[in-house]
């Protein structure tokens, strides 16, 4: 099976996001970057499918130079090849990203395209769905169970408060959600192997941005709360506050 996994490099979940002084951008100088956690599920799923059906796993990532370490992470998990679509700066409009990925994916002859359900930096949650339209392929998002038999795909996807069982045929696009699998850790052997793989570099084909970020703000500071008490005896007071002050119960 010829599988493509689209991955993104994002700030570590522990990062405290700092803005530049003019608040027009995020200050990247102290950020530790990692492979997007949801993409790990995609890589893992690709590797499991490869182990089952044979084939090749290609990692595709769009971003500036710094993303090579995220690509290496995916390679270290066990992917075979990697393509880096180069840009000077990440586009703000997810549609631009999807277009560039689609241009690359179109001619790859992939049976399956996997990606994380969302990148935890801009949280747009758009690329997997857009790719479906651009490539004219079935695309199932937020998948927590995947079964592929021949070219028949049965996927279980998470929707608010329930699960949906969806069917389609290959080639298809699947966006992955926590629960689908347990991503493997990149072993030291894998890291050494990854070091030897040449990452194919090419400029990304960029379309026009139709989404502009005017500026950023920090979320409004919450007023310091109060400690109602240090034993169960504080419960009546807590309930009173919730009822009378906050009016939420």
């Amino acid at each position: 099976m010829n599988i493509a996994v689209c991955v993104k490099q994002v700030p570590d979940t522990e990062t405290k996001v700092k803005l530049t002084e003019d608040k027009k951008a995020v200050d990247e100088s102290e950020i530790n970057f990692i492979l997007n956690p949801y993409d790990e599920f995609a890589v893992e799923e690709a590797l499991q499918l490869k182990e089952k059906y044979d084939g090749e796993v290609t990692v595709i990532s769009l971003g500036p130079d710094r993303i090579s370490s995220a690509i290496r992470s995916a390679l270290a998990m066990g992917a075979d090849k990697a393509i880096h679509l180069q840009v000077d700066e990440n586009p703000q409009d997810p549609n631009v990203v999807a277009n560039a990925l689609a241009a690359e994916l179109k001619n790859g002859g992939y049976d399956l395209i996997l990606l994380g359900k969302q990148a935890i930096d801009d949280d747009h949650t758009q690329v997997p769905s857009i790719l479906g339209e651009k490539l004219g392929l079935p695309s199932v998002t937020v998948v927590i169970k995947l079964n592929i038999d021949g070219d028949k795909v049965v996927a279980e996807r998470e929707i608010d408060g329930a699960h949906e069982i969806v069917e389609c045929t290959l080639p298809a696009i699947i966006s992955t959600q926590r629960g689908l699998n347990e991503p493997r850790y990149a072993s030291l052997k894998g890291i050494m192997r990854a070091k030897k793989i040449q990452i194919e570099q090419k400029p990304a084909q960029l379309s026009d941005d139709q989404l502009n970020i005017i500026g950023f703000e920090y979320p409004p500071q919450k007023n310091p709360g109060k400690i109602v008490g240090d034993s169960a005896d504080a419960v009546p007071e807590l309930l009173r506050l919730l009822h009378e002050e906050a009016k939420v119960i």
Binding site: E133, V140, A162, K226, P236
Partner: protein, 316 residues
């Protein structure tokens, strides 16, 4: 600027986010219509009218009984064109997040996901959406001709403003579906999803084990709340994945979030910090959750929670 509001429904029932979006559209002072796509949807006229929708269009086909991503996308895109809408307004629900980008792609529109603030600015929209799991908020502008906007549930109040809704029903031909929904498996019966709930009671590693979860469930039931969990509780196998709140779980903004035995790791806070009121019950006074909590009790949860249940049952 004409707004088309996508009415979300499941199993024939309209969902709350639709009313929230109608209420929002009213405040924008722009003409708007509500679009329903499906087969059997109940009480359209009555429900949508109650929240102030004067014009409703119902695109109907028996094959649209269940949601299908690409099928629905085609119909919704068609509706946007036919109704000459400039803005498609949806909920940032699982449907909105799945369907929105597809419609946008067909219409060559730009899309803003998960907005927490929508306002008119000249003849465009000023949109604010959280990024980096809510650690910052971005003000964005869409420059495409048609714009797709999804709004985070529970941010705008659904307020009633009764009118008589005019419903135009249109039989549409169903397109070919590339994906087919075979079945919807509901979670536990009557279980409320965290993203929609007004009150959430969440448990963490401090709960010590799944055998104690009845405390969370009982408290939730008394409050009419959904139950959530930290990743530690989910990873330990105590709770299902779909209950996880946080950066790699669900993002929620209920009116009340009660964190029980949850330390408040940055990844957890990312998912619930926009809750209106936060209550923390934790025996560690230094637990970071207290920094965010409006009300806290520093004590053993195994004393506090039973007491809460007791007091609520007694109706105090």
């Amino acid at each position: 600027m004409k707004i088309l509001i996508y009415a979300e429904h499941r199993e024939g029932q309209l969902r709350k986010i639709t009313y929230e979006n109608i209420s929002l559209a009213r405040t924008l002072g722009q003409p708007f219509e509500v679009l329903v796509v499906g087969n059997e949807v109940q009480d359209i006229q009555e429900q949508l009218g109650r929240y102030g929708a004067e014009q409703v269009v119902f695109y109907k086909n028996a094959q649209l009984e269940n949601y299908s991503a690409d099928g629905y996308a085609r119909i919704v895109a068609e509706a946007v064109k036919e109704r000459q809408a400039d803005v498609l307004l949806m909920g940032a629900t699982s449907t909105g997040k799945d369907l929105g980008p597809r419609v946008a792609s067909i219409l060559n529109a730009a899309m803003a996901t998960d907005c927490i603030h929508v306002e008119m600015e000249g003849d465009n929209l000023k949109l604010i959406r959280p990024m980096y799991a809510g650690k910052v908020q971005a003000t964005i502008r869409l420059t495409s001709a048609v714009k797709v906007v999804t709004v985070r549930p529970n941010v705008y109040q659904a307020s009633e403003a009764p009118v008589t809704a005019k419903v135009d029903t249109k039989e549409v031909s169903a397109p070919d579906f590339k994906t087919v929904v075979k079945e919807i498996v509901s979670g536990a019966k009557g279980k409320l999803d965290v993203t929609e709930a007004n009150i959430i009671v969440s448990g963490g590693r401090g709960m010590k084990g799944p055998e104690n979860w009845h405390l969370i469930e009982d408290l939730a039931q008394l409050l009419g709340a959904a139950t959530g969990a930290s990743r530690a509780a989910v990873d330990a196998g105590w709770r299902p994945h779909d209950e996880q709140v946080g950066q790699t779980g669900k993002t929620v903004s209920p009116s009340l979030y009660i964190a029980v035995g949850i330390s408040g790791a940055i990844q957890h806070l990312a998912g619930m910090s926009s809750s209106k009121y936060i209550v923390a019950i934790n025996k560690d006074p230094d637990a970071p959750i207290f920094k965010l909590a409006d009300y806290g009790i520093v004590a053993d949860l195994f004393d506090v929670v039973p007491r809460m249940i007791e007091e609520l049952k007694a109706g105090n």
